[in-house]
C-alpha cells in the first residue's frame, strides 16, 4: 500500500505505509554439523528442510512454499523466505531438526525479519563497552 504525497509535488520522498502485515518473513540461518567437512549443496539443504517439515507437520507442512534465496556452501549459511503465516511452522521444524544423515546437526537461526533489508546488519554482533 503506498500513497504518493499529493500535496507536495516537488518532494522526492515518498511515504510508504504498510497497512497489512508483510506477506513474507526472511530468515538468516546457519547449519552447524558435527563433522565440519560435510559438503551440502543448496538442493540438499532445501530437501533437508523439507523433510523436517514433513516429519513434523506431515503433508500440510510439506506444502509450505518457502524459498532458499541465497546460500553459501562454505559457511553453510543461507537466507530463507517464507510466507508470514507459516513462519512458526518452518521455524519450529528447523529447531527440532537434530540429525543430518545420522550425524548431529543444529540450525542456528541468526536473524528473522519481515524486511529483507534488516538482515544486512546484526546488532548482536556489535561490541558493547
Amino acid at each position: 500500500m503506498r500513497r504518493e504525497d499529493e500535496t507536495d509535488e516537488t518532494s522526492v520522498f515518498r511515504r510508504v505505509v504498510l497497512k497489512n502485515a508483510s506477506p513474507y518473513h526472511y530468515m538468516k540461518i546457519c547449519l552447524v554439523l558435527d563433522d565440519e567437512s560435510t559438503k551440502l549443496s543448496a538442493v540438499d539443504l532445501k530437501l533437508f528442510i523439507l523433510t523436517g517439515l514433513k516429519n513434523l507437520f506431515g503433508e500440510v507442512g510439506a506444502a509450505i512454499s518457502f524459498d532458499l534465496l541465497k546460500y553459501d556452501e562454505d559457511t553453510l549459511s543461507g537466507l530463507l523466505r517464507v510466507p508470514s503465516r507459516s513462519l512458526v511452522k518452518l521455524w519450529s521444524s528447523l529447531t527440532l531438526l537434530g540429525f543430518y544423515q545420522n550425524q548431529a546437526c543444529a540450525f542456528r537461526v541468526l536473524q528473522v525479519s519481515p524486511y529483507l533489508l534488516s538482515l544486512t546488519g546484526n546488532s548482536r554482533e556489535l561490541k558493547l563497552d
Binding site: V88, G98, R124, E125
Partner: protein, 273 residues
Amino acid sequence: MSVFMDLNLSFCADKSRLRSLIETAAHLGFSTVAVNYTFEPTAKKKQEIPAPMPITDLMDQLPVVQGRSRPIRVLNRLTVVMSDSSHFRPTAPEYRRFDLLAVQPTSEKLFHVACMTLDIDIICITVTEKLPFFFKRAPINGAVERGVMFEVSYAAAIRDATMRRYTIANATSLMETCKGKNVILSSAAEKPLELRGPYDITNLGLLFGLSDGDSKEAVSSTCRSAVLHAETRWTASGIIRTTKTCSVTPIQQEAPPEESDAPAAKKAKLEDE
C-alpha cells in the same frame, strides 16, 4: 525485559564437553545456565547425593554472553527422580550445596505431594514416556500459588521422533491445565548441538500451546522467578539469612575509613544534637 536463562544443562563427567556446552550456551545468548545433577534413589542401597563441581574447577574464565559483554552465570541444580515419597529428604544438608532444587515425580500421588508440600523450585514434567497420569487442576493451582515452576525440556524431542511425540503431547496437556502460567522451557542438553537459541525456544513454545507472551517468559522472567524462589528458600521469609562463620580468629579490623563528604556531614549533624 529480563535476560534469557537455560536452567538445565546435563552434567557429564567429561569436563571438556561440559565446558563446550556452557560456551555454546553463552554464544547463543543465555545469560544464566544451571548445570543439572540428576539423583535417582533406589530402594536397594543408599546412594550418595552428588556434590556439585565448583565452576572454577571447570574453567578459569567464564565465556562472555553474546551481545551483552558480560560473563555467563553458572548455577548448580539437583533433580531428584522420585518414585517414593521418602526419596526427597527436605532437611538433607547435601541439598544446601545446590542453587536450585527440582523433583521429577513419577506418579500422580507424588506429583500432588510435589506441587502442594515439598520445598522445591521446579517440577520436571516427564518427556521421555507417555504421561502416567492426568494433570489435575487442584495441585497445579497449588503449585502456581506457591511459586513452583513446571519444566518442559526439549532435547529429547530433538534426539528421537518418538520422544518428540511424547514431549509435545505431555507439554500440551500441561498447558491446557496450567494455562501457560509458571512454565519454563529448558534444554536438558548433553551435547552442544542439542542446544537451541532463546528465540528458537520461544517459537517452540508456541508449538507446545503457549501464548506469545508466556512463551517468551518461559525462557526469561519465569526462570528468573525460579532462581529468586530458590534464593529465598534458605532465608526466613526472604528477609533474613544466617550463615555459619568458619573462622575462629577475630575479624581483622578494617583500616579507619577516610573521611569523605557524606560521613562528615552526618558527623556534624550528630554533634549538633
